[in-house]
Amino acid sequence: MIIRTTKAALASGTILAMAGMASAQTLDVALNSPPAGLDPHLVTAFNSVLIASPNIYEALTGINADLDITPALAESWEISEDGKTYTFKLREGATFHDGSTFDAEDVAASLRRVLSEKIASPLASRISPITDIEVVDPATIRLTLDAPFAPLLASLATVAIVPAEFEDDPDALQKTPVGTGPFAFAEWQPNGYISLTAFDGYYMDGLPKIGEVRFHFVPESATAQAGFLAGDYDLLPGIDPATSLTLSANPNIEIQDTRDLSYTLIGMNASVAPLDNPEVREAVNMLLDRQSIIDAALFGAGVPAGPLSPALTSWAVDTSEYACYTQDVEGAKAKLALSGVTEPLKIRMIVLPRQDARDIAQVAQQQLAAGGIEVELVNQEIGQFVQDWRNSNFDMFVSANGGAIDPDLYFYRTFYGGGSTNVFKYDNPEIDALLDEGRSVTDMEKRQEIYADLQKRLACQGPVAHIAYGDLMTAVGPKVEGFVINPLGRLNNLSEVTLSE
């Protein structure tokens, strides 16, 4: 009972790949849970993205390991003087896994698919400033915006291009994805594995170098570790610090790490007492000792977090500039006393069901208790957590968020009054004005100034106490050669990986 794709072209591609250019070697990757479908415009969950992008699907632009925007399906682009028109020159000779040729119509259809109300893609807001999509010729597409939108190129890197025929189809891609990437979808054994095979029509000569990638679903970390040590799996992406410590004892195993763009945070509800008071939120920051949280919950693998990751070298302000990041229990108590809240403060904190989040919550609970803040931990199942999060049904929460390479992509939706993920109900007109300015100005220096100002305003009194940027770690088995970790956590260069033996 194996679910196989029915596309004839795909099947023949598989056979050719096995027989021809790429070797028949299989790279085995272990992931903790299966994806909730593989439609790149519908499912934004981490494991879906990890499997599908950019292995199956590619976008107009890409993001390399240094977090620079690179060409992908677009070879080059021009931006008009006023910042409102983008003209992309597309790659010629790329084909989809179903055999059809990639051209500007596919790009237009994919963007329309994301924007369409009927498909209801959650990615829409990332490209919502686009007002007009014009196919100039099969290799050229022009996008017109209603206002300058500095992060557009970074946003487009997250919008996969699919064949035009799927524009109005909300279902098909979920189970049988079709893209232009180096690997084509082959089979999906529920709870077992997803297999991708080398796409022989890939436009880069000689790639991919291996014949198959299998993503195995192994729910228990100890099981994945044991299987990895036994050679069942070649790659464990995104492992936690405890796993890394366990595996690093073995000399044959390489642990690659990089500073993660994603971060752990304590969110605070700015619409209910007592955390509606910015002074109280600052006191919370003063009570936290981020370094000891990192030592305890992340086994030291991380750095204290400000609003932006230090990996974003051209944007991030150093955390030493935030006064509230120095733990000061007496100062915090004094601040709480002055702010007129009645002690002890009772706070309900919901916790994302992840070991690091739980450990962070347990350590933070003790640190906040020192300042007279009594935290009740509510560890939730994921559905309950997401629901309470979306409905702002919390005083505080501990969670982890993925990062973005442009500050606007994170700040605007999070801190703008009424922003789509502003579940804190934070509303500060000064911040809103700065955010509006930040996304419309295209001058880099001016933007840097604006975002530095925003970081300083948000760090201590904002609705989010940023906790840590962890180390993103991937365990690489002894057979694997040529793998390079990517700070976004994706498996960006599997096509270049080879296996020894």
Binding site: D240, L245, L377, N379, Q380, E381
Partner: protein, 275 residues
């Protein structure tokens, strides 16, 4: 005769094992243990040593202290669950046996519906609805065990209800409630005692599985299943929390099962041949 003494010794041993563990749970706060909540990061994930006899967990908390406090959580949850199930399920079983007819048929079919549901899934569903904590876990286990008690007690109750002295009580005009409480119930005492002990043993395992899946007591509460669950994430690095928490679950469940088994032999030797 020999067998009688042997069984008595076994019963004494089982009782001692249970009493010892219950006593640990009850007197945990005054045993001079370390603070089960105190995090000493530099001492984290140590194996057994002079300071922490059973080692420490991922936040440097003392495993021994957390296990003994964990007994409290497990026992409280499971006792609540089993007693609740006994109360509800037992009443249903006796009522069904006493009134029989349509009432019996409908109620017992409803019990069958719950009984046919996979145990762990039923518990997971109940907990998912109520939110994960010890009380939900207790309630979930109670729901799972209600049909078991109902089915267990209905059979023997049927026999008693048909007996001559119940008929006699009816003849002299005793009320239904009075008959059930003062005639039927006392005759079920031994089976209730045995089954409660056996089901407690099983409940401890179910509670541990639920906590293992993250559905029982929540951190930082010390709980045996939760320790096993958290410990498994660090298994190859620091096995002691997972190993010792598992052993504690085994001892607790074992004690109650042995007690039930020995009680059954002592209270009703006729049952012995069947087991």
């Amino acid at each position: 005769m020999m067998s009688y003494f042997r069984n008595n010794r076994l019963l004494a041993f089982a009782t001692a094992l249970v009493v010892f563990q219950v006593a640990l749970a009850v007197f945990a706060p005054v045993l001079g243990l370390q603070d089960p909540f105190a995090q000493v990061i530099v001492q984290r994930m140590k194996g057994p040593n002079a300071l922490n006899w059973l080692g420490t967990d991922q936040l440097g908390r003392d495993v021994l202290a957390r296990i003994i406090h964990g007994y409290r959580t497990s026992l409280l949850t499971c006792l609540t669950a089993v007693l609740l199930a006994l109360l509800v399920g037992g009443s249903i079983g006796i009522l069904a046996a006493y009134y029989r007819g349509w009432f019996d048929r409908i109620v017992m079919r409803l019990m069958d519906v719950i009984f046919a549901f996979p145990i762990l899934l039923l518990a997971i569903a109940v907990i998912a609805i109520l939110g994960a904590n010890s009380f939900s876990a207790a309630l979930a286990i109670a729901v799972v065990y209600t049909p078991i008690f109902a089915r267990l007690l209905r059979g023997p109750a049927l026999v008693i209800c048909e007996s001559e002295y119940v008929e006699g009580a009816r003849a002299i005009g005793a009320s239904d409630l009075r008959i059930m409480v003062s005639h039927v119930l006392p005759n079920l005492a031994s089976i209730v005692l045995v089954q409660t002990s056996l089901l407690l043993s099983a409940a401890i395992l179910v509670e541990a599985s639920l906590s293992f899946l993250g559905l029982g007591a929540q951190p930082p509460t010390p709980s045996l299943g939760l320790m096993l669950s958290e410990g498994r994430n660090f298994l190859l690095l620091a096995p002691s929390p997972a190993i010792f928490a598992g052993l504690a679950i085994l001892f607790l469940s074992f004690g109650f099962n042995l007690l039930g088994d020995a009680l059954r032999d002592s209270l009703d030797p006729r049952l012995k041949a069947a087991t």
